[in-house]
């Protein structure tokens, strides 16, 4: 099973949102990382058919997905970033509706819906209208809707948005479990969401793929770049100019500053790099704003 993006370009007037994306994806979890405006949602919208590309194509097992049509859509599961459901439907009704969109038969739908609701801790509220759900419940429902028809390709746009830490871990683990033999594209700003489960991280910025590596390789490449420096409070401002600040934390009466710089600052100790450091190195501090 192979999903290929070949020379994908998307223009909005004069603005080029995607500048020629070339990717080949095989079964596994891919973390799509990038700042706002990088083109992540554009890429996902083109894959799900919600947008038309300007140039290029996406193929699945060698065939253009536009030609495949329903045959491709039936194997695609999509969890959008924004809430997309009917507020007056109950969770149960909504999932049955989604099952009908995917052409599932009733028996199979009943089984899968019950499974998905249990998995995402929504079984108790299955007969309640979605309009009354909390943000986290709505998000979990969207994930359930993406899973019920057992798709081969899972597109998850910020699936952990609105979830508490415990639910975040649960969803992360769930994705890790169900991703067997599937191509999972997970777009997120929360690096820990993909840190432990992603096969590869695809770093996207300004419509271009900056880098595509395993998390281990990315971290290895950061060796000698991340330093920890402990200073007095009145020296914090001066210390911040020594490199890109990755983090600031209290250490007793002093302040521990984590810096990203190839040149070790005086008195600094090398720190183990994390994927947050990788993110900041590629996208800079403005990426968070």
């Amino acid at each position: 099973m192979e999903l290929c993006f070949e020379g994908l370009v998307k223009n909005y007037g004069k603005k080029q949102a995607l500048k020629g994306i070339d990717l080949t994806l095989t079964p596994g979890i891919y973390g799509l990382l990038g700042p706002n405006g990088a083109g992540k949602s554009t890429l996902m919208n083109i894959l799900t058919g919600n947008l038309e590309q300007t140039r290029g194509q996406i193929t699945f097992d060698g065939r253009d997905i536009r030609t495949l049509g329903p045959a491709f859509r039936g194997r695609l599961g999509y969890c959008p970033q924004q809430p997309a459901f009917y507020p007056t439907f109950t969770a149960d009704e909504f999932l049955f509706y989604m099952a009908s969109l995917h052409g599932m038969d009733r028996k199979a739908a009943e089984t899968r819906i019950s499974w998905a609701l249990e998995l995402l801790s929504l079984a108790r509220v299955r007969h309640e209208p979605i309009g009354g759900f909390s943000g986290g419940m709505k998000q979990r429902l969207l994930i359930a809707a993406a899973l019920i028809h057992d798709p081969d390709i899972l597109v998850l746009d910020e699936p952990t948005a609105g979830l508490d830490p415990e639910q975040r871990i649960a969803v992360r683990n769930l994705i890790g479990r169900v991703a067997l033999n599937k191509i999972v594209i997970l777009s997120t700003h929360v690096v820990p969401d993909v840190e432990f489960i992603a096969k590869e991280l695809i770093l996207l910025d300004r419509g271009q793929v900056l880098c595509r590596q395993t998390p281990e390789a990315l971290l290895k490449a950061m060796a000698g770049q991340v330093w920890s420096l402990t200073v007095d409070e009145d020296q914090v401002e001066a210390a911040q100019s020594l490199g890109q600040v990755c983090g600031i934390a209290r250490a007793g009466d002093q302040v521990a500053i984590r810096l990203l710089t190839p040149t070790p600052p005086k008195g600094a100790v090398e720190a183990a790099p994390t994927l947050d450091d990788v993110y900041l190195r590629f996208f800079g501090p403005e990426a968070g704003l």
Binding site: T48, N50, P70, Y78, Q82, T90, F96, E110, P129, G132
Partner: protein, 667 residues
């Protein structure tokens, strides 16, 4: 306020609707100014005013069958006569005003003297005295016979009320329901100026919009009136405008016009307050329009009643300032006659203030986050299947509230036709009696009966002529005219035709029946618009288009929506139009389905092979076709719309306008 204006004017479709309303009003008013009044137009009356000297002589010549008819203004003698008579009536009304006024005074004095209205301290006597005093105070008012046709049409025009109502409704729905549905209220509610201050800004914007639209409508109509009929003399007394002779107030045309302008503005502002309250209360444009429609229906019923108090509380009736000005009628307040215009003013202002305060309260107190709905009853739980077609039906009937709207329509039709009874007149009774005897194919026995009955009635006529005080004979002779009608109808039957009792067909196909049928169609189009306007915007508003596109089922969903649209159109048509037929059949008996339809009054032109059944089926099919066409129009507006409000208002305007125009044309 700038941001509230931006919210309103950013809706391109709403702006186009407002523009359409303004242009449409101008066209409508032009049509009114050039309307055929019975073979002649108001402009022709104006021409007659320019040459009044030959008026009486021309009328005399037209009424003389031996004389050559002078055709100065029209091409047909009957139209010429109607025109000159209408002009003469208007000229005489102004010229003879003092005699008319004195006649009202003398009539009141006579009734008082004769004690026809009870003791002197009774309400009737006191109101009569007040009216008499009002007319006595108009001594010296001398309107001149100046053509005031432009003002006559302007001051009685209903088109402006409708245009103003639609514009205000559009603004209110955008400012209230759109914000709630987009979740904007969740952001604004916790802020310092996010409650009463925000509502006041919305109200101010709506008031400005109301004023601007009203001014534009009025200026447009004034320009059209000036261009077609002229604006007359504004310094003349209002009593010189045809229809206002009995106005008890000493006002000039200009003075009345000023009151008219302010009155309409107050009426529109009251309507604005009511629309804002409805929008705040429901949060949904569909529900808001439904609530307002029910309210207007109630107001219309109150306005049509004979009770003056009910009429003064009817918002639809309050739009007609001329009704308050055209007579000296008083309201009975615990036996005391009180002024109807002043009371109406107080009621109108009170409505506006109360509705605005209600809207303010609802806006500030109702939660910004919708209440969590509980669905506890297992029996009412949603279906568990994967049939996409049925799911689309569920979305239409439950989420889009089509089922509720169908119920609303059904109840409306039950209320419209349930209490109706057959017209029980003496004439009708005798006619039906004769029709029962003559019904079916002609026969020698029926011919003999007609001959015998004619002879009997002739005998009665001779007897009555000899004894005109005989009330029994008089009562029996009431059968004569109905008999003549039945006899002529029988004798006019063509070969193959059967005699049909026309009562049912008159009730169904006659002028009253056609008008009822037209209003039924209006209700059908109204419910269709409410049910279908949100069909496609709902997918966008809920962001479900993302899921639908990703699933690749967009075309299939669209196909199913189209199918359900057709099914809904059929259901709405049936609920909306069949009650009238059922009522007619229930009241007057079943039709003779196999008889030739040419035997029905007004359908003599039909060929012989067309049966009554075919005629009825054709009319039903025509109604259904129009309903399906209306459904197509509504979905045409719904498909590209991102929100419900513009789709709903455009659909309502386009589908209801032809109904209103036809209703006006039928008269």
């Amino acid at each position: 306020m700038r941001y509230e204006w931006k919210k309103l004017l950013a809706q391109v479709q709403i702006c186009l609707l407002l523009l359409g309303v303004l242009v449409g009003n101008g066209i409508w008013f032009f049509l009114r100014c050039s309307q055929d009044l019975g073979g002649y137009t108001m402009a022709q009356i104006r021409q007659v005013y320019a040459a009044p000297d030959t008026l009486e002589a021309d009328i005399a010549l037209l009424e003389d069958p031996t004389a050559a008819p002078p055709l100065r203004y029209t091409q047909r003698p009957w139209a010429e006569l109607a025109l000159l008579t209408a002009a003469r009536d208007r000229i005489a009304a102004a010229r003879d005003y003092d005699a008319f006024r004195q006649g009202l005074v003398d009539d009141a004095a006579l009734k008082e003297r004769l004690g026809l209205l009870g003791p002197a301290d009774s309400f009737e006597a006191r109101s009569l005295k007040r009216g008499q005093a009002a007319y006595e105070a108009l001594v010296g008012v001398t309107p001149e016979p100046v053509f005031q046709g432009g003002m006559e049409v302007l001051l009685t025009d209903r088109g402006m009320d409708l245009a103003l109502g639609v514009a205000v409704l559009a603004g209110a729905l955008v400012l209230t329901t759109l914000e709630r549905r987009s979740g904007g209220m969740v952001l604004s509610r916790p802020t310092r100026r996010g409650r009463a201050a925000l509502f006041c800004r919305k109200w101010a914007v709506l008031a400005c919009l109301t004023g601007a639209v009203w001014a534009t409508l009025l200026l447009t109509d004034l320009a059209v009136a000036a261009g077609t009929l002229g604006l007359g003399a504004w310094t003349q007394p209002i009593q010189g405008v045809y229809g206002f002779e009995a106005c008890p107030a000493p006002l000039s045309v200009g003075g009345y016009f000023a009151i008219y302008v302010l009155w309409k503005l107050l009426w529109a502002l009251s309507w604005a307050g009511i629309c804002l309250a409805a929008g705040c209360a429901t949060g949904s444009p569909i529900l808001a329009v439904l609530v307002l429609a029910a309210m207007l229906g109630g107001a219309w019923c109150a306005g049509e009643s004979g009770d003056l108090w009910l009429r003064v509380f009817s918002l639809t009736r309050l739009a007609r300032l001329e009704e308050l000005a055209q007579s000296a009628a008083y309201l009975n307040w615990m036996g005391t006659p009180i002024s109807r215009p002043w009371t109406a003013l107080a009621v109108l202002a009170g409505m506006g203030i109360l509705s605005t305060l209600t809207g303010l309260g609802l806006f500030c107190l109702l939660p910004a986050v919708p209440r969590k709905a509980q669905w506890p009853l297992p029996l009412l739980r949603g279906p568990r299947h994967t049939n996409l077609f049925l799911w689309e039906g569920r979305k239409l009937f439950r989420t889009q509230r089509a089922a509720l709207l169908l119920l609303f329509l059904a109840l409306t039709q039950v209320a419209s036709y349930g209490p109706r009874r057959a017209e029980n007149t003496e004439y009708g009774y005798f006619y039906r009696m004769y029709s029962q005897i003559l019904a079916g194919d002609p026969s020698p026995e029926k011919d003999a009966y007609l001959t015998a009955e004619a002879a009997r009635l002739e005998e009665l006529t001779r007897a009555f002529a000899a004894a005109p005080w005989d009330t029994e004979l008089y009562g029996q002779l009431a059968a004569e005219q109905p008999f003549r009608e039945a006899q002529e109808q029988y004798r006019a039957l063509k070969p193959g035709q059967r005699y049909l009792d026309q009562t049912l067909y008159r009730a169904y196909f006659g002028p009253e029946g056609l008008r009822d049928g037209l209003w039924d169609l209006g209700k059908v189009f109204f419910v269709l618009s409410l049910a279908l306007a949100g069909l496609y915007p709902a997918e966008r508003e809920s962001a479900m288009t993302l899921q639908l596109t990703a699933s690749g089922q967009t075309r299939r969903v669209r196909r199913y929506k189209t199918l359900w649209t057709g099914i809904l159109a059929l259901l709405i048509w049936a609920v909306g139009t069949l009650p009238r037929l059922l009522w007619a059949v229930w009241t007057y008996g079943p039709p003779d389905l196999l008889a030739q339809a040419g035997a029905i009054e007004g359908f003599a032109w039909l060929p012989g092979f067309v049966s009554v059944l075919a005629l009825l089926l054709s009319t039903q099919l025509a109604g259904l076709t129009l309903t399906v066409l209306a459904a197509w129009i509504v979905t045409f507006f719904s498909r590209p719309a991102s929100t419900q409000v513009p789709a709903l208002l455009l659909a309502l305007t386009v589908t209801e306008l032809p109904i209103l125009l036809l209703a006006w044309w039928i008269g």
